[in-house]
Amino acid sequence: MKYSYYPGCTLKNKAQDLDLYARRAAVALGFELVEIPEWQCCGGVYPLGTDEIASKLSSVRALNYAKEQGQDLITLCSACHHVLKRVNDDMKNVADISDRANNYMQLDAPYKGETTVVHFLEVLRDRIGFDELKKKVVNPLTGKKIGAYYGCLALRPGKVLEFDDPENPQIMEDFIRALGAEPVIYPYRNECCGAYTALEDKNIPAKRTKMIFDSADGFGADMLITACPLCMYNLNKSEADSKVPVYYFTELLAEALGVKEGVEQ
């Protein structure tokens, strides 16, 4: 199976591990990530305004490219996943946005939200299957107690993203189980890390990440996993006493599959 792969800005820079280990894991699992040529940054934040069209076009270009390839579009970063799914929903279901974006784009055929956007974790759950993944694990992470940190952008709004139950998700816990480790469920796993306020007010992420680490540590987590480079940054900058190491989920996946040191596509 080939996917049109949208890495996004950060996976080419500060979050290269998120990308690298996903590429290695995909080879081991038998699917192909074909990077979309000349993809453009999604902007990180979904443009909420009903009259914001230009800032949605970079997503439309990537979505339309995948449509032309006849492939589903796969992403890894929580923010890209969020923005692309929501713009795709607009193109499919919001006539005013769809018409205006298409008027601007002047594509050979109008784009109407035909592409399916999937997160890498959704591919593992829905296409590969966690049972199958478990069979391919050669280095089970036995004995590790891992807290899934979902954050906000992967889950909400649940009606549009359809990633998992936004209030009581389990996809990352099932992923952790498939790798042979023990998931730790803690209350703050889907609470925001402080996001972009880190740029001008470090107190907000400092407080948020302390609550997250205290919560995870209180329930016995040895480490956290995330799919979001901004969560990773805010968590890593935390000075909480309860801090535990944070990894991209793809790093643990590659480790369990025995391809952490392997060759990428």
Binding site: A15, C41, L48, D51, R156, E200
Partner: protein
């Protein structure tokens, strides 16, 4: 009957947000869910009332505009689909679309950087803090 400036701006917020603040039943779930509640001078549920009452000047000056994390907890949990986060975002845009309304300037960025800042943080802050 001509509209006052505040009435026009309230209508603009309704248009940009695509949200109907009149549907709010003041249950307070949005404010109870908000991770930035303590940072906000006008709380999410109050935001909705301010728009209903055309009290836009106070909203435009509110520091809440810059404290919303865009986490969509309020949007997810609003039982009336008012989606307070969209209302806060529309008020922010009303301010930023005015001349000189940007909250963040490119020349301020270098001093705010450290070696680990992910690109995602910069593009997200740019989208939220300036037009």
């Amino acid at each position: 009957m001509s509209l006052t400036m505040a009435e026009k701006q309230a209508e603009q917020i309704r248009q940009i947000s695509g949200s109907d603040p009149y549907k709010c039943m003041k249950c307070g779930k949005c404010s109870a869910s908000c991770p930035s509640f303590n940072e906000m001078d006008i709380k999410p549920h109050q935001f909705v009332s301010y728009v209903v009452n055309d009290n836009i000047e106070a909203l435009a000056e509110s520091k809440s505009l810059w404290k919303c994390l865009g986490c969509f907890a309020c949007v997810e949990r609003c039982p009336r689909d008012v989606q307070p986060g969209r209302v806060v975002d529309a008020a922010r845009q009303l301010v930023e679309r005015q001349r000189g309304g940007d909250h963040l300037h490119a020349e301020d960025i270098p001093a705010l950087l450290d070696d680990d800042v992910p690109q995602q943080l910069l593009v997200s802050a740019f989208r939220r803090y300036r037009r």
